[in-house]
């Protein structure tokens, strides 16, 4: 079990920078997800940790030991690839024994370890199968067993679920998380799927343009996103144009449609500067619910209502801007027809004020 530290990890190809000074500390036994759209540098970061890509600048330190100059075979890091990379000319048992044979273990040791590994991933009886006779999920289990049997210090998973169908993906998500917890192995998980990152990780690093924009627990990432990019990449958000009136003790006072509202913030805004007010659709209260909370009320006009089974989704207009609200679909709650006016509001700590940014500013 090991901790891993990335220090100013950078990779440039000519003029373009794939990974831009990523610094990160992952605790022993932690499940850390690198989340981001394709081309954000998350896979390059993982490949640098594995040793397949040489960093331009920076260090990779595991257990206080600088691994940066070491080749992949000396790093003691296990990696599972998106396509699993099962050796097609070897049986399942030979695949799993591969790393142990290189470590010059005895025949009996290898046999015992292979059997234990197969049992661990639930593939007992599959010893003599070849890759061509395995399903995607089974190949993934073999890839995991092959890596875990060598007892690596760090486990790297590169989009391991993206090649599976949806039902299997749900199942494997919990299976992998359980196995990771049982073994307590420090894991870096690369994904572009926010659901996987939110449900599986202890912490998430949201990456864009080679940098980690926000590193935190799933709750922090979802509820207190650091930037507009993180806000819009994870889940749905209303992003409203507001004018800032002042900031005091992490609380911003903003003006929206002539009304003063409060929102939590980690930024400083000058008086009168434009800002963005961010609020999740499920946190927008409507009608009696809003009134009962005793929050500042705004008057909105209903544009339309979308029926989504468990949820009702309202598009509303407020001070010339559109805002979406989601309500539980329960029979005793009020409903509003398009064109009607409704009072809406939200609790202060659910709303966040963030500085405006140019969308998709890449490169820097």
């Amino acid at each position: 079990m090991s901790d891993i530290r990335l220090e100013h990890l950078t990779k440039s190809y000519g003029d373009s920078t794939a990974v831009d000074s990523v610094s990160l500390h992952i605790e022993e036994g932690e499940f850390y997800a690198l989340l981001g759209p394709s081309g954000c540098g998350k896979s390059t970061t993982l490949r640098m940790v594995a040793g397949f890509v040489k960093p331009s600048v920076g260090k990779i330190i595991i257990d206080g030991l600088d691994l940066t100059p070491l080749p992949p075979e000396k790093r003691d890091i296990g990696i599972v690839f998106q396509n699993y990379a099962i050796f097609p000319h070897m049986s399942v048992a030979e695949n799993i024994a591969f790393g142990l044979k290189l470590r010059k273990k005895s025949r009996t040791e290898i046999d015992t370890a292979v059997r234990a590994a197969l049992d661990q991933v639930g593939l007992t009886g599959f010893e003599d199968r070849y890759q061509r006779n395995l399903s995607g999920g089974q190949q993934q289990r073999v890839a995991l067993a092959r890596v875990l049997v060598t007892e690596p210090r760090i486990l790297l998973l590169d989009e391991p679920l993206s090649a599976l169908d949806k039902t299997l993906r749900e199942e494997m998500k919990f299976w992998i998380k359980n196995l990771q917890q049982k073994l307590g192995i420090t894991t870096i998980y690369v994904t572009h799927d926010q659901d996987e990152a939110l449900t599986m990780s202890d912490r998430i690093g949201v990456m864009r343009a080679g940098q980690i924009e926000h590193s935190g627990t799933p709750r922090e990432i979802y509820e207190e996103p650091a930037t507009l990019f993180v806000t819009s990449f994870i889940g749905q958000s209303n992003i409203l144009d507001v004018t800032c009136q002042g900031v005091k003790e992490n609380k911003a006072t903003v003006e929206l449609g002539g009304q003063s509202l409060h929102a939590s913030t980690r930024h400083l805004f000058g008086k009168g500067t434009p800002a963005k007010l961010v609020i999740r659709p499920e946190n927008v209260l409507m009608g009696k619910e809003a009134e009962a909370q005793g929050v500042p009320l705004l008057t909105a006009t209903v544009i339309d209502e979308t029926y989504q089974g468990a949820m009702l989704r309202y598009r509303l207009e407020i001070a010339g801007q559109e805002i979406v609200a989601e309500r539980q679909n329960q029979f005793h709650l009020e409903r509003w027809a398009p064109g009607t006016e409704v009072k809406i509001g939200w609790t202060e700590r659910r709303a966040r004020a963030l500085p405006d940014e140019k969308p998709a500013a890449t490169g820097s």
């Binding site: 397949f52 992949p72 075979e73 990379a85 591969f98 790393g99 070849y130 061509r132 092959r146």
Partner: protein
Amino acid sequence: MDDINPIPFTFRIIAVVALMVLLVPVLIVVLAGLNSGEYLTFPPEGFSLRWIENFFTSPTFLPAFKLSFGLALATTIISTILGTLASIFLTRSTSKAREILRGLFFLPVVLPGVVLGLALYVFFIWSDVGLARSLAGLIIGHVLVTMPFVIATVTASLVDFDLSVEEAARSLGATPFQAFWKVTLPLITPGISAGSIFAFIVSFGQFELTLFLSTPDLQTLPLAIYSSLRYAFEPTAAAAGIFAICLVTVSTLISTRLSNLKKLLSRR
């Protein structure tokens, strides 16, 4: 055989005709070699093994056969190793020299054998390091013309090779050499063995190039057949042809079996 044959009837007829056109000359050579007459004629005048016997006792044919076999074997080994290494460079390198080198490697198959033979002959004489009219010089010439076949087949299998398999081996503890030896090499074996079969056949049947590089005491089978037909027109040449056909067929079968070509291909 319950399935309906997906190949249309006319195509099958064309295939049969093409196969016959290819096989009939081979059959004629075999029959001519078993002829009982004095001269190389067709149809044969009767059945006899006298020319086969003559092949074994002849002072030229059997040594020529042995030389051709040894030459083809040496050429195949050198060509396969060099060609495989060259293919790895051609598929993996990011060097700018790659395209130029690829062109150079394939030049020997594009150039007429006569031109290449003459060029090599002149070069060997001019460089004066003892390669002219030597077995070593002959092998170099044969490697040059057979290597493109190895490069073509091995490159083909390396191009669609999934690099992550090699990376997986590396991160499981394999050095670059171990990863290549235990993972990459077994997976590209079908390409390598196909290339080496080509190399063997091309070297064994090589004529123009050999004409320039051999000496009277370095006579390969094609040269021996050629001179025997020019001066003696006897069926021993056809008998030699039978052995050449057998050798190529058997060596192809053996190497296919050894490399488990079928099994590997069916895994796809």
